[in-house]
Structure formats: C-alpha cells, structure tokens
C-alpha cells in the first residue's frame, strides 16, 4: 500500500465519450498495482502558479486488466478538475494521480454474494468495476444492478450492460428512469423506493451484499429502505457524492 499511494504520472492512452456528460479515460500507470473493485484514484492538477486541485474518481475497469485503469469522469460544469479532463486532456497526455485508494466500498469475488448493486447516475462507475471483476473472474455469484438514471441518454455502458443481460449469466440489470423513459418503456419510472427494492430483493438468495453509490439523497433513501427490509445495516456499503442528480 505504501507504494500505491505515491503520486505517479500516468499516460492517457484512450478517451471514450460515454454520454454527453461523461468520458472514460484509459490511463497507463508506471506503478500499477491491482485494485479492488470499488476503489478510486485521486487526480491532482497543478497550475503554473503552484495552485493544486485534487479530486477522487472511481475506477471503472476490473483489476484483471494489468498496467492500466479506466476512470469514468462526469463533467461538473463549475468543477475544478473535471472540465480540464473533459476539455483539455488528449490521448498521450500525462496526468498526475495516486491510488488505488479505499478499503470500505470494495468488493472481491472472495467476499461472495449475492450482490445487490444500487447506482444513481455516475454512481454506477464503481459498481461497473464490480460487475466487470465478477465476469473476468468467471464467478457465478447472483448479481443484480438497479440503475437509476434521468433518461436513456444518461446511461453509462449501455451496450455492455445489454450484453450481460442477453448472455443470462446471472447478471440482471434493472433500470429506473426518473425523468424520461425510452418509448414503450414498461419498467420503473420513478426514484428508488422501498417497494422497488422489495421487488428486486425478493427474488434474490439470502445473505445479500448491497453496495449503494450515488447522490446523497438516493444513497440515504436506498440504505434506509434496505435496513427496513431486514438487511443488517453493517452489510450495506455506501458511497455518496454531491453535485449530480438522478
């Protein structure tokens, strides 16, 4: 861990526009170490006058991919770091970062399941790392992702999630659209509530491991509802962040 927390210069090898507001940066790391799904990296920018700004970004990729990490970053218009990453950084540029960081909001196949992933907006990023890790490790742990988004345009990784659904390998993806659903949509179209969580967890095996990540209000509502549904509070892992709504 001592080495992991040294600042290092990573090289951006690829930038992928995920949605109008989110890009995934693939970054090659000279001091790469395998992360745990759910961990993040700190990115630090330094201005010519020495002013520094630092933010944490969740890892989207699985630890099985050696030597690089993928960070999906949502553009916060009045932010200090994400507009620079979105508008200025190009492939082959170098970025200062350190990680992987975190031991609380993490999951490895060794922890077992079944895995209940509840994500709002870009809160799906660390959950995607867990799903990708589960797939890469060849695990058959029952996994359900409840993904709350404003509209179809805001869905991160839509093709990959569709493929996981189609392959029927035990990864279910359930969407709820809070503002605008696709045409002909018959699924959920409201904020996550207790009735929704009850329906989703009722078809899952016992011993659930819930991971909830998203804006504060969503995280608190989902975590409280899961406790009321009888899931022990100390099994529920949460990660909350501020400025984006779902």
């Amino acid at each position: 861990m001592a080495d992991a927390l040294r600042w290092q210069l990573g090289t951006v090898t690829e930038i992928h526009q995920e949605t109008p507001r989110a890009k995934t940066f693939t970054i090659a790391l000279p001091l790469w170490t395998a992360h745990h799904a759910g961990q993040h990296y700190d990115i630090r920018l330094t201005a010519p006058d020495g002013y520094q700004a630092q933010r944490s970004y969740s890892i989207a990729s699985e630890p099985e991919r050696q030597g690089l990490v993928e960070l999906t970053v949502e553009r916060i218009d009045d932010g200090e770091v994400s507009p620079y990453l979105h508008d200025v950084v190009q492939p082959k540029d170098q970025i200062e970062l350190r990680g992987p960081i975190g031991g609380y909001f993490v999951w490895d196949v060794g922890l077992g399941g079944p895995l209940l992933l509840v994500g709002g907006g870009s809160g799906v990023v660390p959950l995607m790392a867990m799903i990708r890790h589960r797939v890469a490790a060849g695990s058959s742990i029952q996994t359900r992702l409840l993904y709350s988004v404003r509209s179809p345009d805001d869905v991160l990784y839509p093709d990959e999630l569709q493929m996981l659904q189609d392959h029927r390998e035990g990864v279910d993806v359930i969407y709820t659209y809070t503002r605008q659903a696709p045409g002909g949509w018959t699924g959920y179209r409201r904020r996550i509530d207790r009735a929704m969580l009850k329906e989703i967890t009722s078809q899952m095996e016992a011993g659930l491991r819930p991971y909830v990540c998203g804006p504060t209000l969503l995280v608190e509502a989902a975590a409280n509802n899961l406790v009321e549904l009888g899931i022990p509070a100390d099994r529920i892992r949460t990660e909350r962040f501020g400025p984006t709504g779902t």
């Binding site: 944490s56 031991g103 609380y104 501020g242």
Partner: protein, 94 residues
Amino acid sequence: MDEQDGDRNRELMLDGNAAGGMLYDVFSAEMTAAPTECASCGRRGEIGSLLAFTQAPGLVLRCPSCENAMVRIVRAGDVTYLDARGAVYLRIAR
C-alpha cells in the same frame, strides 16, 4: 453561514471514501474501512460511511446520524492539525 452556503456545502458533500487519500497522508494507513464511534450519539461505523466536507480549507468528517463533527484535519504546508474530539476512537492499522 447563510442558508445558501449551507445548501452549497451539502451539494458538494462527499463521504469518507473520498477522503481516503488525505487520511492516508496523515495516518500512513488505509483508513476508510477503519471502525470509529461518534462521541455525540454513539453511532458505530467505518470511516468510509461518514459524511465528508472537503471544500473547506481542510477536511471535516461528520456522523451521518447526528452530523456531529467527528474529525477535522487542516494542513498548512508541512504542518497538519488533527482535531478528533468528536470521535471516541480511531483505529489505525498499519
């Protein structure tokens, strides 16, 4: 602090997970999974589950149940001030 500032602070609120890097700087240990206890209401939970206010010139970790300020860290150059009177204990595992 007027109400608008309060809203803004809350909007920018993160949690103890996001403070993992800074906590590592101070304690030389992974701290987000470390258990702690609120000195005000007695809630027990991991550092990662605490509310984190990082936009101030420092870090404030608050209890998610009663919002008591459990840990305050301010860094100025090579000097770090740590005020953890709001926590009964912190566990540092190196």
